[in-house]
Subunit: 412 residues, 4 copies
């Protein structure tokens, strides 16, 4: 059995395959398609916060209707917090300095699918990614990096022969008596605990997003007039309290999303260099992650040394790149996280966030590790002498001024 | 004559010295102090946009009153645009990812002082920096890196013997019959074309800035209710038009400040690792620079290659560090700017900015260099085949999956 | 016409195609193969120093014998010096710190082929790379990055159907009456002006290279007993004189190869992470490049500022990666070279190299730009005072010692 | 009591101070000088391998003769291996890519002195560094970063008033009846377990080092004619066996020095940008470290992923800089070492080293973690298809070729 995306396997005896399932058109199509090729299809829905109870029930019912061998709904909240949000906030910046990696739930969905496969004793995994995007890279590499699995990607397979794939899928399902929810959407929307992304249409064409390109974030006219203040408590760089109350990470993030979206916080728009080399322009909304990043950074600025603050972004940026590009399981990511975890030893304390709308600021910081000199106030009083400052300047700039002396002349 | 900050020179015959002069307490004090030590004091005020005509007149009158040998007011606008703003926007990020280097006018002030010294045929330069802050590093290194000058820093000298320096200066001036403008300020404020910074008081103590810590940016209650749209045109990465109108850079920046400050754009708060090693927490307001950075980044994201977008931040960050720390004239800065200038060859086009308050977004981008594939739309249609995508994933992830194969086992 | 590697084009009317030709089995096979598919084959041999006059004559004769429409031999020396060696020496390090990029002649071969194509008015280019290695990446990307060309890779095509490719090629040629030079080689050898690489066999298996894995470098027993001294003169970072004599770059490199190979200089062995993700272990010999790198580095260490020496390797490493991976024409490479060129402004002077065998050392350096302080000798005498040194240490280490104070306690 | 280098403390009651002592002129001078200022002087000699038993005895006797309150000789071998050599080999490169940080024993000497101070219940530490060099930075910062200590540096103190310091010290000792070993040395020599450095004289003037500038490394004429082969075994990146025999690290390093110095391995010459900003040119000899670096790198090249091999040098370089510049105890160093330690998880195996003189090569590598693909041999056979390679090239180079399409035109 090969780990490479193989041709479908219409074998005589039924074999088990685990399908990461969302209930949408693509993954609905996958069920009968795989069944007709001899697979017993076990669907897994990893709920990472993008749906409500009603939608969750719909997904389960849909799976049954499509004739799956089994269906599981997995609570992805703790996994996405520990596996992604925690190290992401340690890293402290988005992809290309902007994008908060909102599709990283894919990695946790893969984990849920592999765990289900282990239960079933199969090494066959299916997903509904197309051959056009970057998610297939994340999905395939995350699977392959965890062992020798057979990956089946039905949409990618039919794309080898058909161009109007969504129409093909719809017809395929209807011919077999399965309804298709009519969703004529202007944008490609992705939503989970981390946030919402919107792409497609005029966004792709570098034009101003239309009025419909909104997710959780309220427009200015609806922002509350009273400002909002929050206190976030951190322990070893992880947010553990909200206004003094201890609270599980994924619940905290959900609550921050609810609190800050009304103020339009965390909405952005950027063009990314995607893994496959194309430009991808998207609108994203991630109020909670924005708040976590702002608070965490303010705390780090105050407690890390200059050497740490200078170098940490190099490590952070590489971590972000690996996660963006599908290298979630490369050993380098483990190494980078060892660095990040070490750097968080003193990132303890409380940060006050404030928003009046549009952005959120970290207005106050408390920590036992604040690096404030007892005898000095910046630019006003110091526990060093003026001659010491002059000596510092002289030696600190020596190489540079020596260069000037040698290369600029400058005799009086 | 040595380039090192020397003891003052009470020589028999009068010698010329150029003093960078702002009319404030520190530099006012410097005039009689230097005169009494035998210097003929030539003041230079480099107007980089922090003052209005009335204040400019006051400064000139103050210099005369203090008995300077000559006074010059220099228009620093074009110099600060070309020497700082242009490459800063190319670099595209602030110090520690936050602070837009608002004190960089110091370098242009030094240049104005050195130009005046050349006219006068002297190599003696004075400044009013204390021995406690970072400005002295910028000032001293900028002077020393341009030749062999004698630097006299009267405030630093008196600090060697006195602790209550400002009181000492005030008394010194009053004893000689010079008035002192009573400015009892809660904060240390710095203001120029680039923006406003506020520090001191509760800001230093990592507490929420008081209601008085405001500069140009309006609070939420005063934001206009109608959103604002602007068009910025770039040529080789330099902003050259506003809403289609060609306009000199420093004038453009001033206009952006006026347009965006009412919406509270560009205000921030951060803790910096300063050159001398202490933490320095400041509030800053730079509406115009914020707008320039946002627009420029949106254009770069759309026209630079993935390789360029990935690597350019390394260069940018080093440029920012050099400017922050006083290495404005190190040859490395020249080398970095050669890179940056080269990278801007295709950064041409127009960006639409929009603000409803709090932040500004780049909502649309136009350029003849947009890197959009004719045959492909991201994640929807492509001019490559599915098998090609599969091949890409396989080889792109090869090292990582091979590692898993060798080190994770994973036989079915 | 598409820029993607297309199926072969058996069109009715003859079309011109330019084939990069070396006279070996692979490119010999390409000629009849392309002709039978309707192409008029124009061979180009870019002589970058790997062959002598006899071999060059053989190549021309071989092309005629195979029935090409035309053949050109191009002197690749100046192009490889200016296009690769000069910026490579500026960069100053090999791939993964080791490998001096000896296959970079590919890029100049592509340029020669494209120039020939322009003469002929065709946009079809053929090469003999396989689908297994990294050269195909370099070749394809170098072509595609310079315009919209049709690339035909016959070996890659036959690999789609045949596994024993070299046997297939040999039989194909013999069936058509073309002889095949019997070269039963233990290693895959690549040789040009830059050096020699050897791979395959036990080298691939991480074993000690056999006695036959030698190129130009003599073994210890044959090293001359007298040491060798050379003087290399640099102007703006480019080697322009040898022992005081002005000499063209590619001739200089050839002479360094001849002088230093007898001493076994420049031989190395490393395992590279190749573009396609596999490990590739090779033996390389590059005596001349080794000498250039050592001399140039010694000069840079002496004339660049600390800031330059610290940062330049970041730029260098990226340049090296781009060249290794096929991104020879990405605009980032242009940007990096702007930096590198700027950094070489003061890299002027003469360096004395010495070898007694095994390695080469830069034993003396002369330059008008040597950064030696007039008043100071390192660690012995200084033009700064002790108090200045103490002040420097205090402020230089402030952030670090403040951290210790806050986090380590340490009261007396 | 302040942690800043303070004026000497001529207090009434005797206080204990710990002096890092080498028996040379500088530290011998320190003993009577400190005693006369009221200190009870406790000397510590941290033997890190630079002396033999006879010299060690001399040092102890010298301390007694000078009238110390106590003397301790500490075996610094294990500390220097674990505290420096192990992470240095993980890092894998020298300062500025060249210099193997041979003065890093300073940090372990400080640790030995602080341990002695803790025993004695004092927080006063003395050292014999001058105010001209970089060692004072390492010494002072290493002390200050571990708590609140009083640092006394007698040589630095007398330099405030005297210029011919060594003559002053000699006279001072002789006047008090202490002999001075006549060492008229051409070079400043430093020697410990790590290697030997030589500076001063013509070396400082960028001339070829004289015949006397040799340490352990034999000249070519004395190299053994038979090549030497060694096997080094690594566990988690630490060298633990030599030719199959398990052996303590510092003993292993000493043995490598003995084995490889006769072949002239590990000798180098470079100009460094020192902490205080001056250029420092030195000759260094470190045969054992050279062998460890070469072997370790060969193993890493074979077992780390491409992502790891690409990024690890960034981390390594920063670690090296911190150690060079005195930041041995900054928390960033801890963070970097967490990364490095993590990266060594699979750096297990055996490497065969070979030297014929002048340099040492890693000719063979064995490891259970070798990243060789079962189905593929680099550039010859592969477990991917040609179409997959073509797909890879297309998407891998997409951004770059798209740029060419947009900006270069290129219509057929």
């Amino acid at each position: 059995m090969s780990s490479q995306p193989s041709a479908l396997s219409p074998q005589s005896s039924t074999k088990d395959i685990v399908l990461a399932f969302s209930g949408g058109l693509d993954t609905s199509f996958c069920v009968p398609y795989l069944k007709e090729r001899g697979w017993a299809v076990h669907t897994v829905f990893a709920d990472t916060g993008g749906v409500d109870a009603q939608e969750r029930a719909y997904i389960e019912q849909r799976a049954q209707e499509l004739g799956v061998a089994s269906h599981r709904t997995v609570d992805g909240g703790p996994a996405i917090w520990n596996g992604f949000v925690k190290p992401f906030v340690w890293a402290g910046e988005g992809y290309q300095g902007q994008y908060p990696l909102l599709v990283s739930d894919r990695y946790l969905i893969v984990d849920a699918a592999l765990a289900r496969a282990a239960e079933l004793g199969t090494r066959a995994i299916a997903h509904g990614c197309t051959g056009m995007g970057n998610d297939q890279v994340r999905f395939d590499l995350a699977v392959k990096s965890q062992g020798d699995y057979e990956i089946v990607a039905p949409i990618r397979e039919i794309q080898k022969e058909h161009t109007e794939v969504r129409a093909y899928e719809q017809k395929y399902l209807e011919e077999r008596g399965f309804g298709v929810r009519a969703k004529q959407k202007s944008y490609t929307i992705n939503e989970n605990l981390l946030g919402v992304t919107m792409s497609g249409g005029e966004i792709d064409r570098w034009q101003a997003p239309g009025a419909g390109a909104v997710g959780w974030c309220k427009p200015r006219a609806e922002w509350p007039s009273a400002p909002l203040r929050l206190r976030l408590g951190f322990a070893s760089g992880e947010a553990v309290t909200l206004d003094g109350e201890k609270i599980a990470g994924h619940v905290l993030l959900a609550r921050l999303n609810e609190l800050l979206a009304p103020y339009g916080v965390g909405r952005g728009l950027y063009t990314g260099d995607t893994t496959i080399g194309l430009k991808g322009r998207i609108v994203f909304e991630a109020p909670g992650l924005a708040a976590l990043l702002v608070a965490h950074r303010a705390l780090e600025e105050a407690v890390l040394t200059k050497q740490q603050n200078r170098f940490k972004p190099e490590v952070a940026r590489k971590w972000v790149e690996l996660v963006y590009e599908g290298f979630f399981h490369d050993p380098l990511k483990t190494d980078l996280e060892a660095f990040l975890a070490s750097s968080q030893a003193t990132v303890n304390g409380e940060v006050v966030l404030e928003t009046a709308g549009g952005r959120v600021d970290a207005v106050a910081v408390q920590s036992p590790h604040l690096l404030n000199a007892k005898g000095a106030t910046y630019a006003q009083a110091a526990d060093w002498g003026v001659a010491e400052a002059e000596g510092f300047i002289k030696l600190f700039g020596m190489s540079s001024t020596l260069w000037a002396e040698v290369n600029r002349g400058g005799a009086a």
